[in-house]
Each structure stands twice: as structure tokens, then as C-alpha cells.
Amino acid sequence: MTKNVYLDFAATTFTHPQIVEAMLPYFTESFGNPSSIYSFSDRNRAAIQKAREQAAAVLNCAPAEIFFTSSGTEADNWALQGVAWSHENKGRRIITTKIEHHAVLHTGQFLAERGFDVVYLDVDAEGKISLDQLKKAMTKETILVSVMFANNEIGTIQPIAEIGELCRERGVIFHTDAVQAAAHVPIDVQAMKIDMLSMSAHKFYGPKGVGVLYIRKGTKVGNFMHGGAQEKGRRASTENVAGIVGLGAAIERTASHMNEEGKRVAALRDRLIAGVMTRIPHAKLNGAPGSGRLPNNANFSLIGLEGETMLMDLNAAGISASTGSACSSGSLDPSHVLMAIGLSHELAHGSLRLTLGETTTQEDIDYVLDTLAKSVARRREMSPLWEDYLAGLKKA
């Protein structure tokens, strides 16, 4: 395989070499426990503080409101469980959506099994929640609203500021999973009235295994990771200094060219979408159009095809992509996100996600288009579903 075209940046990015460079001294030279009192750890303490400031600057919050975690998943678990366990006397309702990442959905399920009333908002065909439905769902017992900033499969961006406003008016804590959005689209926790926000470094060219939970000052949130007194007693475990340094450096770097890079990948993505729509008959774009979705996200359903088949054909041509098809996830149900936006099982099984990043070129896009068009034509030929679909079209 000579070609290597990576189009799965929403799954994970490489750690940028500059970021690795920034991390290196914290493995071998400055390795002291930041919670100790000796001078040997001064540099580590300062490095963590700097990372806190770098993350805070991107969100427009205070550095003391940034808490480092081991991942986006942990941040989501902490947000939901931390609020649930420390507000259960006030109420037990948690409102979230049908299209959250499993880190939120499965934590919600865990809490539901323990007596919490977890409510899942619908989304429309583009993947957006309804503010009206949210308003109606917000009973007096509501302790938390958790709505993701942007969806990881279809890229749809939610009306975060409006949700924040609704929550603030009612005194309900508002958490958003911004794992896909952070450092890629502008976020302002003040203007958007966000109380808690999750992110993960490996989505913005930082290392895997480190994330952030932003917690607005004054928000009552119990601990999730119990143990030592790190992170002001709120998140235990010896600080992953190199990882934290990497997160800080990466968020600063990636956010600093957010606008230009966002425009560049959006143009490539639009070329990809236009190419698919013109070259592949009966293709469907999933998610919101234009600026309603993440600049780097394209998601298609190609009727008659099963997602894994496309992935394997692309893979054979050196292209790495993703699908919401069940077959690739080990379950037999297709993506809950694609089902929530109202796709049929056929379309949900036939989805393809291509997510672009800093190294994506126009050549890559054109290569994918060629490869995909060939694969689709060939595989549809051997698909009984495609045959039925065409027959249905003729009848209609």
C-alpha cells in the first residue's frame, strides 16, 4: 500500500511534533511530583499552571476553573456523576440528547439504573435539538442539562448560547461535551453561559490520555476520581505532567489558527461533498449544511451499501475513514445518531464519515472521490438492496 490518506481526524489526530517536543522534558528531566514541596518540582508546577492558562484562554474562563482529566470520557463521566451525586437532594432529573457520545449516554444509563430520571431530547433531521422541547423538559427537579457542542458523527453544532441562556434563567447547571469542538470552533463560556465543558487533547493535535473538565466557579460538583488532593482536591491521581503540557501547548497552537485552518478544511470538505453529490448517484449528506456543522466533517449515506464494505475498499486504497455502521462497532445496531436524525436502517448502515485535518490536501480529496466512486459502483452491483431500491424508484 503506497498511499496513506488519513481522513479520520474526528476519531483522533496525530500529536503535532511541536507538541511532542514540548512534552519531552517532562518525561526524563522534570519528572518530579508536582504536589511535592521541593524545588525540583517547581518547573512542573509552573508547566501545569501554564497549561491551565492556555486552556482557560481558549475558553475565556479563569485558569482555576480548568481541571485536568485523563480524557474526554472521564470529563463527561465526572460532569454527570459529579452533579448527580451532589444534587440528588434537589432533584434527580438530567436532560441530555439522543445523539450524545456514549461517554454521556452510558453514564446517563448508569445513573438511570440508580434512580436518576434521565431524559433524552430528540433532534431534527439535521441533528439539532428543539429549544422548545428542552424548555418543556426542564422541570423543577432538573439538576443538569448536558448537550454536546458538536456531534462527532455528523458534525452538527447545537445552539449552545441559547441553551445556556435557558439553563441560566432556571438556575440549572449546563454541561456541554465539546470534545469535537474545542480549538476548532470559537467557544466562550461566558457569552454562552456554559457551566461545565469537556474536552480531549487528542482531538486537537495533543496527546491521547489527557482531557479537561471546565467547572465554573461556584458550581457544586462532587468528585469522580477519588484519592489524593491533586487539582485542589477535586481530581485525584499524580498529575500527568507531560500530557497536561501537551494539552496546553496543543490547544493554544490549534486555536491560534482556528479561523484560517477552519476555512481551509471547510473548502476541502465542500469540494468533497460536491464531488460525492455529483459523482455518486443517490448520495445523501447527513447533518447540517455549511456553517451549521464542524468545518472538517462530512458524513454521507450511500443507499445500497453497507458501511464496512466501503471502509474496506477505501482501506485497500490506503484511505482511513469511519462509518456509523453497526458492523464496525461490534454491535448490530447502527449508529444511534443516524437513527435519531430519522434515517432508515438501510441508510444508517450505509454511512461513511470522512473527517479532515491539518495534513489533508486537495489531492487527498480527489483521490478519495475517485476511489469511492469506483467502490460504490462495484459494490452496488452486488447489492440486493440497491437492486430493490432501483426497482422501487422505477415503480414510483
Partner: protein, 143 residues
């Protein structure tokens, strides 16, 4: 994840297509689970003399169809009926556990085509195990 044989049969599947006036046609699976398999047979003197398939599904579903059709081509109906999903999976040098149901589909689809032929000929269809029974034998739960 997949064996070389699976990849080979996925990339270059044998016996793809349809037989216009097939003597027997079987179709199994449904779009909900993401797999649909359709097999066409031509039967001459109780022997499968031609076979074609069309499959919507993951790589292992396509490879299983390809392998199963290869394994029964030229066999008598009685021999073909005895093809088990395990034999399909083994011929493919194994399938990942969560993909075993694809080989089950292939077994079922051959059975369906044979029974379709038998029905058309005015014979009793042979008794089949249900999909769940077959899958449970291989401890993969598929509901």
C-alpha cells in the same frame, strides 16, 4: 482483524451476480441488522451446476457468500444441504467472533435456495434450524 482468505474473497468475490431463471432463489437477513444475502442456484440432475449471489453487508458477509457458493458448486443438493456455517468460517481461515453470524447467514441462504427449488419442484422443504439456534451454537447473540 480479517484473515487473508476473507480479504481475498471480499476483494474478489466469486460467483457474484444473478441467474435470470434460477431454479431456486434464497434470501435471508434484513436491513435492520445490516445484512441481506440472496443466492441463486441452477440445479441439473440434483446437482448445483451454477450458483450466483448478491449480498448487502459487511466484508465478512460478502466473503462468506463467496466462499459458501464456491463450496456447494458442483455438489448434490444433499451434500450442499450439509454445509455448515463452521465449514464456511473454517474455509475462510476463521472469522472474528462477532462476525460468525455472517457465516450462519450463508448456511441459511443456501438452505433457503435449496428449499425454494424443492418447493418449486413440488417436494416438501427440508427442516431448517432457526437463525437464533444456529447463532447460539456459536455463542453469538443476534437479536
Amino acid at each position: 482483524m480479517y484473515s487473508q482468505t476473507v480479504m481475498e474473497h471480499f476483494t474478489n468475490p466469486r460467483n457474484v451476480g444473478e441467474i435470470p431463471d434460477a431454479d431456486g432463489v434464497g434470501q435471508v437477513g434484513n436491513p435492520k441488522c445490516g445484512d441481506i444475502m440472496k443466492i441463486f442456484i441452477r440445479v441439473t440432475d440434483n446437482v448445483i451446476t451454477d450458483i450466483k449471489f448478491k449480498t448487502f453487508g459487511c466484508a465478512s458477509a460478502i466473503a462468506s457468500s463467496s466462499m459458501a457458493t464456491e463450496l456447494v458448486l458442483g455438489k448434490t443438493l444433499e451434500e450442499a444441504w450439509k454445509l455448515t456455517n463452521t465449514a464456511v468460517a473454517e474455509a475462510l481461515d476463521g472469522l472474528p467472533p462477532i462476525k460468525m453470524h455472517c457465516s450462519v447467514l450463508a448456511e441459511e441462504c443456501i438452505h433457503a435456495a435449496i428449499n425454494d427449488y424443492r418447493r418449486k419442484q413440488g417436494f416438501e422443504p427440508w427442516a431448517e434450524k432457526t437463525h437464533d439456534e444456529l447463532v447460539d451454537e456459536h455463542s453469538h447473540h443476534h437479536h
